[in-house]
Amino acid sequence: MSGTDYNYDEQGQFFPYFILTVTTLVTVPTTISFLRPSKELENTGTTIDSDFTPEHADLIQGQRKKQKRLERRIKRGLLMLVGWAMNAAMVYLILVTARTTPDIWNPYDVLGVNRNADEKAIKKHYRKLSLTLHPDKARENPAKNITLQTINDHWVDVTKAFKALTDEEIRNNFLQYGHPDGKQSFSIGIALPKWIVTEGAGKYVLLIYALALGVILPYTVGKWWYGTQRLTKEKVLIASAGKIFREYDNDQGQVGVIGALSSGEEFNEVLTGNKADNGLSKLEQKVLSEGSESLVSQTLTKKDRQKLVDLEDSRRRKVLTLLWAYLGRVELDDETLNDEKFEVAPIALRLNEAYTSIALAYGNTKAVLSAYHTSQNLIQALRPGASPLEQLPHFGPTVADAAEAERSRTHLTIQEFMRIPDAQRKARLVDAGILNQDQYSTAMSVASRIPIFNVEKAFFKVVGERFVTPSSLVQFVLKGRFFPSSATDVPEVNPKDLLDIDPEEGDVAAITGRKNDRSGEKPIQPPLAHAPYFARDHAPRWHIFLADSKQGRIAVPPFTFSTFDKPILDESGNPTYNVQTLKMQFGAPPQAGSYTFVMHMICDSYIGMDTKMEVTLVVEDASKAEEVEEEEEISEPEEDSIAGQMRSLKTGGAPPRKRRQANDDSSGSDTEGDVESESETDTDTDSDEE
């Protein structure tokens, strides 16, 4: 079976090298990826610590640990260990077999002369040796195991070496090819041990081959392929995305969104077997019955509740009721039910991402807002319409009620509450006996550390231009500062910070954003969301989008920001009030005019910190921009330079080109379509700062 031209590796000299190379190729990257700390925002952010422990903190901790266990890279670790063990074995084999390989006869070594010694030196050395090594001169020495035989053999060797070296041809051969006989025919071998192809082993090798190609390869490829097909871009099961799409409705509020999320298939993995309707009746009674003190029944209208009860699938009914129990922070008096209550929330948040992307595809402002608000509710474990104050530790509905004092329909946000003088706040809560001093100070310390992004200025601009011209690439620049919620004596903004200065014309690195990407520095990340009831760590993200208020549609899809370019807190933990710059790019409408958008900025983790602002984009006619340019006294660029050509293009020096450009403009359908065609979320935009 073996080919006559190829030698198998009989002494096992080479196949360890081969295997070592292959396993190293696999093992080293695996090790690097195993040991590298995760770069996810959730793992790098700081937390807002407080000594507040919510009810069932042990269950929430248990859920967190469960997630950690899932995230642990066990398989990778095992692969790494096996790889290194194999490497070690191969290195051992190499070392062991290296000793058995014979050395090539080297006349220089035998004579003990330098390689570049010339003939004269060699002859001289040989004579010197003959004085001591010649059989007539050398003495037997049994103690050193030197007999007549060995002396003779050695002398023969030395003479041979001398002859070889004094012969011009042989010496040259040796110097050129490393072998006295001249150029050696090199042989190609197969770095596999011979036993693989010997009679008995053949069928096992064939079996392994068949297993590898016939079973393992199709299995892994199939698993990978169907694995990628099972999940959508948002890492949600395809089936769930389909169901949520069917449940989607433009006009439904957060209650509807939560209903839609409950259709996700992911919950089936949690509520398997008889878990699917265990304790359902108890749960429904606790959460939904009119008489119970749970606030969920007040949040849900009669219609919503009917819809929930009418659900045919008991698993889905349980999921939805659990979600409401979580959002209403309802005590369920049952360990497993409470545990499940905390387990469903993170899943729902993941599904909510799929819902958000569907809402964005529809482009309806109200639906997108509902989706974002649902994310806030899920992270803070608060029902829709709850007071934002309940995000603070120890604040329940009654506490929030007392804190708000004015029994109005709208709730106070945390920052509004913190603006009330401390004495008054205390009077409402501590003096009235609702919270004790410790609880109050815990809540206040958390409240003062929740960062709020305060927009100072928002404007549109085109890099390098004075006006926004039709169809140009507009930057929406948002300047703002992080305040702690309790900030009272906020320093004035330095007006210089609110300007957005274009980089120098020649500064290509700055224009492309390469210079300021701060790859060396870590981007600044606000602390993780303070969410004691949510069984995961969550890094807050800020979504910014522009909406057309007249049509109730989204004009510029959201850009998401999770890291910022300037520190929020200094070393001692005090706020720096640095002005942060956020930028998003989109295509300007093709017609001149002024367009009014409503800018929404929504933090996905905290309730009541949304910013809504009207911004106007003034698109000037292209001719106006030219006029200004002509008024300015710029030295006329050379006709053959690029600038000159650009100029002649702009001023109509090349009429045919210009006409074509105009045509291009008019072909871009209507205003909205053009604006919407901009790509979706891009987290990197904050990196290119002035």
């Binding site: 871009k233 995305a241 799409f245 069917r246 433009n250 595809a361 029994r407």
Partner: protein, 202 residues
């Protein structure tokens, strides 16, 4: 016999077995795969729930004894058309969004297939309604959907209205309470002021 005795039959079976296993497994795979695909295609959930209004209309139409009067049939047809309006609006709204989502990979292929089936179904349904309407009165088919959409809008507005009016009782109650609260606060403030004034006078 010479040619056969020289053949090593056992060794010959090896390549033949190889070919048989290879082709056989490929055949089985393709067969199973196609069957499964057909089964999933057949078991795709319908996009819309059963069309109740159409069923009502059809059963009324086929009632022989006693024969249903034309006016009732027409009303049933209008109801059917109204439901169709709801559906067509849903389909039209969903189409663009679904295309975007499909491109981005946010939804699966089978949803798109289900959607296309629903689209075709609703087209057929519309054609059927037009034909039926024309059978009742010539050229009614051209206007039936106009009336149906007006009916649908009317319904929507009424629902919205009733939703708002259903809130009045609760709102009223809340306001009464608030009013009483404000009043008592004012009285208290006035009393305090009086006391203060009296103290000052002393």
């Amino acid at each position: 016999m010479w040619p056969f005795s020289a053949i090593d039959w056992v060794m010959l079976t090896v390549p033949i077995a190889y070919l048989v296993i290879l082709i056989g497994s490929l055949g089985v795979f393709s067969n199973l795969y196609r069957k499964r695909k057909a089964a999933t295609a057949a078991s795709l959930e319908p996009w819309f729930p059963p069309h109740l209004q159409r069923n009502v209309y059809l059963s009324l139409l086929h009632m022989e004894d006693p024969k249903v009067p034309d006016s009732i049939l027409k009303a049933a047809l209008l109801r059917r058309a109204t439901e169709d309006i709801h559906r067509i609006v849903q389909v039209r709204n969903a189409k663009q969004a679904l295309q975007v989502l499909l491109q981005r990979g946010s939804v699966g292929d089978d949803l798109w297939q289900r959607f296309q089936r629903a689209e075709k179904e609703i087209e057929e349904e519309l054609r059927d309604v037009v034909n039926e309407a024309n059978a009742f009165a010539p050229n009614w088919g051209q206007t039936i959907f106009q009336s149906a959409s007006e009916m649908a809008q009317n319904n929507q507005i009424r629902e919205r209205l009733s939703e708002i009016t259903s809130k009045t009782a609760a709102e009223k109650e809340w306001w009464e309470k608030r009013k009483v609260g404000i009043q008592s606060d004012f009285m208290k403030e006035l009393d305090d002021e009086k006391d203060g004034v009296m103290v000052e006078k002393k």
